[in-house]
């Protein structure tokens, strides 16, 4: 299955299996973590398409190929983009669920979708705490913090910090075995998002894709 880029409204996305009527949205982690896992998520998209799904991963404002700059991005921009992608896909088929990674999980309730699957969900306050540890105060000012090599609105950081992980009724949570927090399933693997360089984990992509497909199918029949 080949990956293609396309625009969904004003939001760039990569996708596989666009001819399939059953659609799934994949939300990447936010900020630098997204770059670290992008290749593994691309493998995951291909696996989802092989299971007869149209898999779509949007680049949200300030991230990836999106033309908006991160230094102007607010939490509403991120959540609105997720809602727009879901609405656009609903108009051409059925969105059976949303699979989100890390801090992407903070946005998954913005889409009007029943089945939620999460991998290693990161709470907003932990995300922001880790980002603030990288702050270069010589480049920060009153309105923007320079974190992880980028200028980010302080109100985005404040809003993310206060944003709870939602508790949708149809939710499955998967974590790495090294993570002691509660989960429906713990899987072997290394936290790619913490690595110094982007990496690729085909075995993890395969395992997660299988779990997503099984879970989404069980939600569809229940």
């Amino acid at each position: 299955m080949t990956l293609a880029s396309r625009w969904i409204g004003d939001i760039p996305a990569i996708e596989t299996g666009s001819d399939k009527p059953r659609k799934i949205i994949v939300l990447a982690p936010l900020f630098e973590e997204a770059n670290k896992v992008r290749r593994t998520l691309a493998l995951l998209l291909r696996r989802l398409a092989a299971a007869d799904l149209h898999a779509v991963m949007p680049d949200l404002p300030g991230m990836g190929e999106h033309p908006a700059h991160l230094e102007t991005t607010t939490l509403s921009d991120l959540r609105d983009a997720v809602a727009k992608v879901a609405a656009a896909l609903q108009s051409s088929g059925t969105v059976i669920g949303i699979a989100s990674f890390r801090a992407g999980c903070l946005l998954d309730d913005a889409a009007d979708v029943a089945a939620h699957w999460r991998f290693a969900p990161e709470s907003g306050d932990r995300l922001v705490r880790t980002l603030m540890r990288t702050e270069d105060t010589t480049q920060s000012d009153e309105t923007h913090a320079f974190v992880s090599g980028q200028s980010v609105r302080r109100d985005l950081l404040d809003d993310l910090s206060a944003q709870p992980l939602s508790s949708p009724p149809l939710l499955r949570t998967v974590r790495l075995g090294s993570d002691r927090a509660d989960a429906d399933l713990h899987v072997p693997g290394s936290p790619l998002w913490r690595h110094a360089e982007p990496g690729e984990d085909p075995a993890l992509a395969q395992l997660l894709a299988e779990d997503i497909v099984t879970w989404m199918r069980s939600c569809a029949v229940s």
Partner: protein, 89 residues
């Protein structure tokens, strides 16, 4: 060295290998005197942030900003001691 501390040191070697992207064989040679911050080029500010976040996830501890300094990350032994102290009730 107590068995408990040795087990903790082994976990932290794996964690360093994961976060710094160094081969497990290299991390497995780390002992208490191995210098970390300032001696490992891989341990830049982003890596420190990721290391602390991963320690928090795996060890169920919270590391405050004022606890992070050159001493705590100076040597492998100092890092293990720090986590060991944080994990005690």
């Amino acid at each position: 060295m107590s068995n408990e501390r040795a087990a903790l040191a082994a976990e932290i070697r794996i964690l360093l290998s994961d976060v710094l992207g160094i081969p497990p064989e290299r991390a497995s040679a780390f002992d208490d005197d191995t210098e970390l911050f300032g001696a490992l080029p891989e341990l830049d500010s982003m890596a420190v942030a990721n290391l602390l976040a991963e320690l928090e996830d795996r060890m169920e501890i919270i590391v405050d900003a004022d606890e992070v300094d050159g001493d705590m990350l100076g040597t492998f032994g100092a890092l293990v001691d720090f986590v060991d102290r944080k994990r005690r009730p």
